[in-house]
Symmetry: C2
Subunit: 430 residues, 2 copies
């Protein structure tokens, strides 16, 4: 390992700037831990003149990130973002030259992780991504190393702070999704284009990486059925609570008899479980495994310093000579357990129907459910939302997803049903 360890930082947004600042300000402490001097030798960003509160004197500046990939760097820190484009190009170029990569880019690895991990392996380079999942929480390290004695059986993650913040605020203020989203945007807690967050894409990227690190397999973002929180209403939040649940957007990965189940969806979580207590913009990762049993990790999932904390930890690991395959085992050993057919998955569900308040409606719906062998644990008809129109909340027992889908397709066609049914998975206590 070269000493000093020469680090190039691609992207000087809040995370990149914070990485540079930590490496500069914590020089002595990092040297003691890393065993080498850490030096930011080059950076790239669009605008050289912007004040980022970091000292860029003595650091090579490149307008084009591609020019960072030279023989005089040991580690590329990629914090540009995006699954493709420059980020993909430079990470590939770096690994191809045997330059180690530390990235906070979940989209990149969720989509191209398999190719990039193999490229790293061929070139004996590190590819590290602690910062890509759950920010400051060392969740990748925990599932890949700390729990390595276990074949982990399930992971439940609250992985998007924006969604958790919105759901928490909706619950605490009674505000609608759109009102709270607007507020969050005004406060800078949500992006101007929030769709990656609220539609669950960001959570799915992170879920794919957590699954890969925990189950020792290639990330498989494209096979994660993903639904976000856009259609969660304050009615849902209110009635979930009456029934003893909080609504959380969860990335879920489980190993069952069907194979590996991965999903991102709003879920009802028992109020008495630890995950239900994780409010605001906090992230959390809950695991179940045969020997360690349950573990929970909680912390800041986003922000410059928390994310940079994870980036710098990865750099120290590299300096310390910690060389572990990105997904825990060499690519030839990747777990090839098939993905579960999600239609076969057994889940309990919360169903919200918007129906005419007329006799016979419940009978029609119950009949369809009975024909599909779906048993209902409880049904709750709420008060009118507009004249003659009421929400009807149904809680099913655990049933096969396919059966529920079939029933809902039929229910949706009933004349008395006024909106597309909205469902949420209920997380059963183990």
């Amino acid at each position: 390992m070269h000493n000093p360890l020469r680090i190039a930082v691609a992207g000087l947004g809040t995370v990149g700037s914070s990485v540079v600042r930590i490496i500069q300000n914590e020089k002595l402490s990092l040297f003691d831990k890393a065993g080498s001097d850490l030096v930011v030798s080059a950076v790239s960003a669009r605008d050289k003149n912007r004040d980022r509160g970091v000292d860029l004197a003595n650091i090579d500046w490149h307008d084009d990130a591609k020019n960072l990939i030279q023989d005089n760097i040991d580690i590329l820190v990629e914090v540009i973002g995006g699954a493709d484009g420059v980020a993909y190009d430079i990470v590939k170029a770096a690994l191809g030259k045997g330059i180690s990569v530390v990235t906070a880019n979940k989209a990149l690895l969720a989509v191209h992780g398999s190719e990039l991990a193999q490229l790293a392996e061929q070139n004996n380079a590190h590819l590290k991504y602690e910062a890509a999942v759950a920010g400051a929480i060392p969740a990748i390290k925990a599932v890949r190393e700390g729990l390595a004695a276990n074949q982990i059986t399930s992971i439940y993650g609250i992985l998007n702070g924006t969604c958790n913040y919105i759901l928490t605020q909706m619950r605490e203020t009674g505000g609608s999704f759109n009102e709270i989203l607007k507020e969050a945007q005004d406060k800078g807690y949500a992006e101007a284009d929030p769709s990656f967050d609220i539609d669950g894409v960001d959570t799915a990227h992170k879920t794919a990486l957590l699954a890969a690190a925990a189950f020792n397999m290639a990330p498989d973002f494209n096979h994660i059925p993903t639904r976000g929180i856009r259609h969660v209403t304050s009615t849902d939040i209110c009635y979930a609570e009456d029934l003893g649940y909080k609504i959380k957007l969860l990335g879920v990965v489980r190993k069952t008899d069907l194979g590996i189940e991965q999903s991102v969806e709003p879920c009802l979580v028992d109020l008495n479980t630890p995950l239900a207590a994780i409010d605001g913009s906090l992230n959390a990762v809950y695991t179940e495994s045969p020997f360690a049993h349950e573990t929970l990790m909680v912390g800041r999932g986003a922000g410059g310093d928390p994310t940079a904390s994870a980036v710098v930890a990865d750099i120290i690991d590299i300096a310390r000579g910690v060389h572990i395959s990105p997904f825990g085992v060499p690519s030839e050993k990747w777990n090839d357990t098939p993905m579960a057919d999600m239609d076969e998955r057994m889940v309990a569900s919360y169903i919200r129907l918007i129906v005419e308040d007329s006799p016979g409606v419940l009978a029609d719906i119950s009949g369809i459910l009975r024909d599909e062998n779906i048993s209902i644990q409880s049904a709750l008809q709420l008060s009118e939302i507009t004249k003659g129109i009421v929400p009807l909340i149904l809680i099913t027992h655990t049933v096969k997803t396919k059966a529920l889908k079939g029933a809902l397709a039929k229910i949706e066609k009933l004349r008395s049903v006024k909106e597309q049914p909205f469902t949420m998975r209920i997380i059963e206590q183990e």
Copy 2:
């Protein structure tokens, strides 16, 4: 690294047996992760004939653990326990020969960690102890590696499952300490001689190790002022709750202007904070640091499988070539920040006095407190416990420990004060 990696297990109690079982039953999965075959080649315990539910055929048996330390082993797993005696002897002998050691023995490392870490360093051997703190929770890895970018500022740990269970049961049932301890002993949740647990010694051992790993220093068990939960009454639990707190036995480590503060004591934790929610026999480690900010880790702190999960993770780390100094930096770099003078420490306190129910008592006490400049946030006189005798609960603002001690020494001498005052620290929200 020898392949297969030959492991000797000293001690076949629940943890040792579970280590052997996991290594045998998870052979293929562990091989993929570790990159070498893991083989238990020798074991030692007292009674060869006891049925431990593990297959000991083809494993060398030794009645005397000392005979395990031979050139044909790569890793010694020490799960005998105890700060001195056989455990100390064999760990020292192994490290002296360059044999790596994985231990769950907090007492050993809390007392002899400095010497043993240096011995490991001189002989280029690993000394790993994840299992010694918070069982299955990868807390040592988190503070030493996952948060390595940070100079951690504080750690609050619920590190003893027996104490947490007793305090939880006292709160939930209203039972007395002695009743609940007896119940816990009957159920096997507490030892026949519970003093190591309930007097805080076990927590202090773990606190010393967490502090060492997080603050990169030699463990300093002998300078941790330690009080346990033996004197916590159901009155305390009840009034703490009325005041908005739960009582937890906490190992606390903080870096302040005074130096490094370490302590083990029953504390009042705000009901709305995450640590307050950790009930039953669960363990938890909460950290504060400049970049990651707050993190919380929760899980099983004891038991055969959870502890063995951590032991086996350490073995996999060794097989993967992860060689990090036991306390994060080489011994020559150990943090030499002085320990704080705990008498100078600023804390808010809960004080329980048992006093005569007569006019003037409060005036006497208040006068003493005023003379020491201790300001009282609230005072609560409870109803009679026996004729004419009442508990008086005082909550102080943040004051210097020395002043409080001085005042309490005077208060104790008042004729109207019938028992030694009992105090608990109040953990202020950051």
